[in-house]
Symmetry: C2
Subunit: 138 residues, 2 copies
DNA sequence: GTGAGTAACTTGATAATCAAATAAACCGCG
DNA sequence: CGCGGTTTATTTGATTATCAAGTTACTCAC
C-alpha cells in the first residue's frame, strides 16, 4: 500500500469515526441529524437567510423549509422577516435552540480534548498547522 | 479563544468540508448517501452479515434491509446464505457494485492527494502518525 | 426436544430529500 | 412609472431513510 493510500485510509477512518460519534450523540438528543446540523450552523452565525443556510448545508431550499418548520414548531429557531428584502427570511436560534447548540458544542470540545490528550504538545501544534493548511486547500 | 477551542474548530471545519465533498460527489452518482456508504463498507470486507453491516453503519437491521433491497434490485450487491448459520445472510458487492466502489475510492485518493499536496513531506509524515494515534484513541 | 436467545424481515409511522411548480418581491431599463 | 426577467421562499408529489415493535425462522444449551 502506497503512502498516499495509507494516508487516505487514515483520513477516511478518522472521518468515519467522527461521523459515528456525531450520529450516536445526536441520537440521544431527541433531534435528528439534519435538525442538529441546522442548529450547529446557526450557532456560529447570528442569523442566515434560508438560501444561505441551504447552501451551507448542501440542500435545496425546499428541503430546508420543512426542517426549519419542524425546528420552529419546537421553539428552537425563529423566522424573522428580512429588513430590506421582503422576499427573504432570517432564521436564528431562540434561547432554547441556543442552549441546545451550546450543550452540543461543549461535547465537541470534550471529544477534541480527549483526542488531543493522546497527542504530545508538539503534535497538537503540528496538527493545528496542518488542519489550517488543508482547510484552505479545499 | 483557547488552544483547545481553536483546534476543535479546525477539526469540525475539516469534518464539515469532507462531509460536503462526499455529499456533492455522491449526489452526482445516481446513488443516495446511505447507499454509497453501504458500498464503501462492503468494498473493504469480502462480505458481512446484515447484523454486522448495520452495526458498522450505526443503523438497525430493519433500516438496512430496505437499503440492501434497493441495492440488490439495482444489481450492486448480492445476498448469499450463510454457510453454517441459516438465520444469517451475507451481503457482498457484485462486480457492478465493486466497480462503483472502486471509482468512488479513486476519488477519495485524488482528494487526499490534493489535500496533501499543500503539505510538506514532514507534515504528511506527521499527519500519518497523528491520525494513527487519534484513531486509536476513539 | 423444549425454551431462551438471535438474525433477518415486515409493518406502521415520521422525517429527509429532490425536482418542479407556485407566489411574492426585487431590480434594471425604457 | 411599469414591464420583464430574476431571485427567494414555499408548496406539491414522489421516493428514500429511519426507527420501534412485532413476526418468522433458526440456533444452541440444557
Amino acid at each position: 500500500m502506497s503512502d498516499l493510500e495509507s494516508l487516505s485510509a487514515l483520513i477516511i477512518e478518522f472521518y468515519e469515526k467522527l461521523s459515528s460519534w456525531e450520529h450516536a450523540v445526536v441520537r440521544g438528543s431527541s433531534l435528528t441529524l439534519p435538525q442538529m446540523h441546522t442548529l450547529e450552523i446557526l450557532g456560529q452565525q447570528p442569523s442566515l437567510r434560508m438560501k444561505e443556510l441551504a447552501a451551507k448545508m448542501g440542500l435545496t431550499t425546499g428541503t430546508l423549509t420543512v426542517t426549519v418548520d419542524r425546528l420552529e414548531k419546537r421553539g428552537l429557531v425563529s423566522r424573522v422577516p428580512h429588513e430590506t428584502d421582503r422576499r427573504s427570511v432570517l432564521v436564528a436560534l431562540t434561547p432554547k435552540g441556543q442552549a441546545i447548540f451550546e450543550a452540543h458544542h461543549a461535547m465537541h470540545l470534550r471529544l477534541t480534548q480527549e483526542l488531543c490528550a493522546s497527542l504530545s504538545e508538539e503534535q497538537a501544534q503540528s496538527l493545528r498547522a496542518i488542519l489550517r493548511t488543508m482547510n484552505q486547500a479545499f
